[in-house]
């Protein structure tokens, strides 16, 4: 099985050097930000690796995982990290962060998929910066492929994937024929969430995404990483989404102590307006 995994780097929310909005309010200040991979994309990569190996120790690769990202040269670090974790090959689509929206990313990916012809695209359900939750869906539409979003488990069957999705009040299970788009949710990295046809049903993965072993980091330097110009994939680079203004959320007010229950109820009613 050949799997394409799109990766996006996002500003590290834990970093002390928090995201800043310049006075004009028209963009996010990106200089000095520290980056990390979008966590849902890391889950997607983990799921893709599990689908392309046999689950034994030492693991044997059985398939190919190609990772792709959009961005300037420095985003290659995100790709190298993915190669060190086990991805086989990487593609960087050269552009800058502020010249992208979900639509353009989906169109460029669709063009790339025409060339790469993966059996499945496994991707994060959304990026934690913009929280747009669109690229997977737009991409499925453009390719006219079946899609399963918010996957919590994936089981490979001949020519198809059985995907369960967590929905309100239960789990919806669906079978998608390949090629297909799957977007994943947090639970996909639980120990028994993903099974390829080669992995024994009794096998349990370590919880969470795997660590790149240090020697693999060195080996990753020798793996193939190619650069493609965005223009080669999308002639029309016009953005459909225009960001008008950015605003920091209002600072949280300090808590107060109330005298008694009556005051609590009054305040909940009149100030918090939750009653």
């Amino acid at each position: 099985m050949k799997i394409l995994v799109p990766l996006k780097r996002v500003a590290d929310p834990d970093n002390a050097n928090k995201v800043k909005i310049p006075a004009a309010g028209d963009k996010i200040e990106t200089t000095g930000l520290e980056w990390k991979p979008n966590p849902f994309d890391e889950y997607a990569l983990e799921a893709a690796l599990r689908l392309t190996e046999n689950g034994q120790t030492p693991k044997v690769r059985a398939g190919e995982v190609v990772v792709v990202t959009f961005g300037p040269k420095e985003t290659e670090q995100t790709l190298r990290a993915a190669l060190a974790t086990g991805a086989d090959r990487a593609i960087r689509i050269d552009t800058t962060d502020d010249k992208l929206d979900g639509d353009l990313v989906a169109r460029a990916l669709a063009a790339l998929i025409e060339k790469e012809k993966p059996d499945v695209v496994v991707m994060g359900k959304q990026a934690v910066d913009g929280d747009s939750n669109q690229v997977g869906q737009i991409l499925a539409e453009l390719l006219d492929w079946p899609m399963a979003t918010f996957a919590a488990t994936i089981k490979e069957e001949a020519g198809a994937l059985v995907v369960s999705r967590e929905v309100d009040g239960g789990v919806a299970t669906m079978r998608v024929k390949l090629p297909a788009i799957v977007t994943v949710d947090l639970r996909i990295v639980a120990p028994t969430s993903v099974y390829s046809t080669k992995t024994a049903a009794t096998f349990k993965y370590n919880d969470g995404v795997r660590f790149a072993a240090l020697p693999a980091i060195m080996a990753a330097k020798k793996k193939l990483l190619v650069e493609i110009k965005l223009a080669d994939l999308a002639a029309d680079q016009a953005l459909k989404v225009e960001y008008k203004a950015f605003q920091a959320p209002p600072a949280r007010k300090a808590g107060i102590k109330v005298k008694d229950v009556t005051e609590l109820v009054t305040r909940l009613k009149n100030e918090a307006k939750v009653l």
Binding site: A16, T31, Q77, R80, F211, A212, A213, L214, I217, A220
Partner: protein, 600 residues
């Protein structure tokens, strides 16, 4: 209650120390490190950081609470350690700094030290299984024949087996010349080992199928003293054609420890059934010499573990001080006004800044010393290598003892900042304080380090080592001047350098005049004043790098201001103590010199 958001070590600080202060990225210009680039260093550090925080740290408290148990002659370790160990081995840090010829990746020690610091800050005991194995396997790599390397070093470096250093005996602790464990030659190549070792960390556990002990012992008829001690490879189970068989190594007891409670330290008994095979490493009677050649790295690692342990506690206390409301500002007279977080009290900030100055000073020294180790072995020219070797030898006793001694003080301050809660085992600072204490004891006590520094290192080469140190300080001062660090700060450090050189010469003169006892009477005070200078030098470099950062206006202003305050703190509260300590050494103040055992 553990603060799960405790970063253990500040990533920004590690980057600052490695790249802004020490320019570690330049190490890749050396042929032996040419396979690396800063990007691989960063990826490596990222991986170990995550591993430390996500895998090791959650197990720290549970492992502290339920130490290993000895039952039916074998030690069982915490179940969480069983889950951790295979991942720890797979991570590949055990042999990362070793060359490719032995399966490693030639990672500079500077970087592997930084990576190891994360593991140690997260869970000292868990990290211990790895670094003990590295140390033991490295000895086999350096002095073993091909057979020993293939049989023992390989499976140790890949984590299949673990290793120990089995040196200490009841009558031979600080004084290893007194080891009694006996080795009797046989005509089949191996020796028969008989004796007992105590406090052997990692000496028994149920994580791997085998444990390889490096044992100091005397070959029958060996000359007495240091020149009669040899080093042996003594596996728990020895490989035979039929597979691993029992090698007559047994566990006579497990030490009940106040810290490092996830790592068993045991009493080992060798040859109770006269069937314990030992394999001589290198030549007979050279064991202590071999040990000494590996001493620098082992001692640097103790210093790193001390800095890391103090760092975890420091971050815990900063977070606590921000959220614990207590009291009001001196200006606030209204008792109804809300209480303020204790970090608003200057005295709490004193305790925090002291911890910061100790922790980040110690980390900087650990990394700087590791860098000298890299340069001593891989430097571009023979001159560069010998210069670095001189500094490595000189700084090692400080890099070992300063983080341990002052780290303990920093750990106590973290308890203090937590007030009564700090004295409760619900909170972590007391556990780190217990862990820390070992670092002033093992790998040579502080007293032993002080004698090594004053009696050997500081007077080495007729003062060549001290001159090399002064050159480094001069270089740091030049950088600081260019970066606009206040002149008074620079003068304080360079002045202290001159004062330390002077007192070293004076103490050396006592010995030349035949009074070694007077020279050595205040060796611990000398170690202290020397350490204050060395850490002052680290802070001068950090101040320079911080000023350079401020000039770049890269958005990290708060970080650099914090660095400058810590530098100022060290330079103006610690450096002034040097003359008084020097006076103690010079005067030979003899209260304890004169004190007779009977007078206690």
């Amino acid at each position: 209650m553990a603060d799960q958001t405790n970063p253990l070590l500040d990533d920004r600080d590690l980057d600052f120390l490695l790249y802004d202060v020490l320019h570690a990225e330049r190490l890749v210009e050396l042929p032996d490190f040419a396979d690396h680039e800063r990007e691989t260093f960063d990826l490596l550090l990222k991986t170990t950081r995550r591993f430390a925080r996500e895998v090791l740290y959650p197990a720290y408290k549970p492992m502290d609470e339920s130490p290993p148990v000895l039952a039916n002659g074998r030690v069982t370790v915490h179940p969480m350690m069983h889950a951790i160990y295979p991942k720890l081995a797979e991570l590949g840090l055990i042999n990362a700094s070793r060359p490719a010829s032995v399966g490693g990746m030639s990672l500079p020690l500077t970087i592997s030290t930084a990576a190891m610091a994360y593991l140690m800050a997260a869970n000292l005991s868990a990290a211990g299984y790895a670094f003990l194995t590295t140390g033991a396997a490295h000895l086999i790599e350096a002095f073993g024949d091909e057979d020993l390397k293939a049989t023992y070093m390989r499976p140790m470096y890949d984590g299949t087996w673990t290793g120990t250093m089995a040196l200490t005996e009841p009558q031979a602790g600080s004084s290893l010349t007194d080891v009694k464990t006996a080795a009797t030659p046989t005509d089949r190549g191996h020796f028969l080992i008989r004796g007992s070792k105590t406090f052997i960390s990692g000496g028994d556990h149920d994580l791997t199928e085998n444990i390889v002990n490096l044992v100091l012992a005397r070959i029958d008829g060996a000359p007495p003293g240091i020149k009669g001690v040899s080093l042996f490879v003594v596996p728990r189970r020895r490989p035979t054609r039929e597979g691993l068989v029992d090698n007559d190594v047994s566990t006579a007891g497990v030490i009940h420890k106040i810290g490092w409670r996830g790592l068993p330290s045991v009493i080992l008994s060798f040859g109770e059934a006269s069937d314990c095979h030992g394999y001589l490493l290198g030549e007979p009677h050279k064991g202590i010499g071999y040990m000494f050649q590996m001493m620098n790295e082992a001692r640097i690692l103790v210093g790193v573990s001390a800095a890391a342990t103090a760092s975890a506690a420091y971050h815990e206390s900063v977070a606590y001080a921000r959220v614990r409301p207590q009291g009001r500002s001196m200006k606030q007279r209204d008792p109804a006004a809300p209480q303020i977080p204790i970090i608003e009290h200057a005295d709490v900030r004193r305790m925090l800044l002291r911890q910061k100055a100790i922790v980040e000073g110690a980390l900087c020294l650990s990394l700087a010393t590791s860098r000298y180790a890299d340069l001593a072995f891989h430097g571009a020219t023979p001159a560069a290598r010998s210069h670095a070797a001189l500094l490595l030898d000189l700084l090692t006793p400080v890099a070992k003892s300063f983080p341990a001694e002052k780290g303990f003080e920093a750990n106590a301050l973290s308890v203090q900042i937590h007030g009564g809660y700090g004295y409760s085992s619900e909170y972590l600072p007391e556990a780190w304080m217990r862990d820390q204490k070992l670092n002033t004891i093992h790998e040579g006590t502080t007293g032993i380090q002080s004698m090594d520094l004053l009696g050997r290192k500081a007077v080495a080469g007729g003062g060549a080592a001290i001159r090399a140190l002064l050159e480094e300080i001069t270089e740091a001062a030049t950088r600081a001047r260019t970066a606009d660090v206040p002149v008074s700060w620079i003068d304080a450090v360079t002045g202290a350098g001159a004062a330390v050189a002077a007192i070293t010469a004076e103490l050396g003169a006592f010995a030349l005049g035949g009074d070694v006892e007077k020279m050595m009477l205040h060796s611990v005070d000398y170690l202290e004043l020397f350490s204050v200078l060395v850490i002052g030098w680290q802070w001068l470099q950090q101040a320079a790098a911080a000023r350079e950062g401020l000039a770049r206006q890269d958005g990290l202003g708060d970080f650099y201001e914090g660095k400058l305050c810590a530098a100022q703190y060290w330079i103006f509260t610690e450096i002034p103590r040097i003359p008084a300590l020097a006076e103690l050494c010079r005067s030979g103040e003899d209260s304890y010199g004169r004190m007779k055992p009977a007078w206690f």
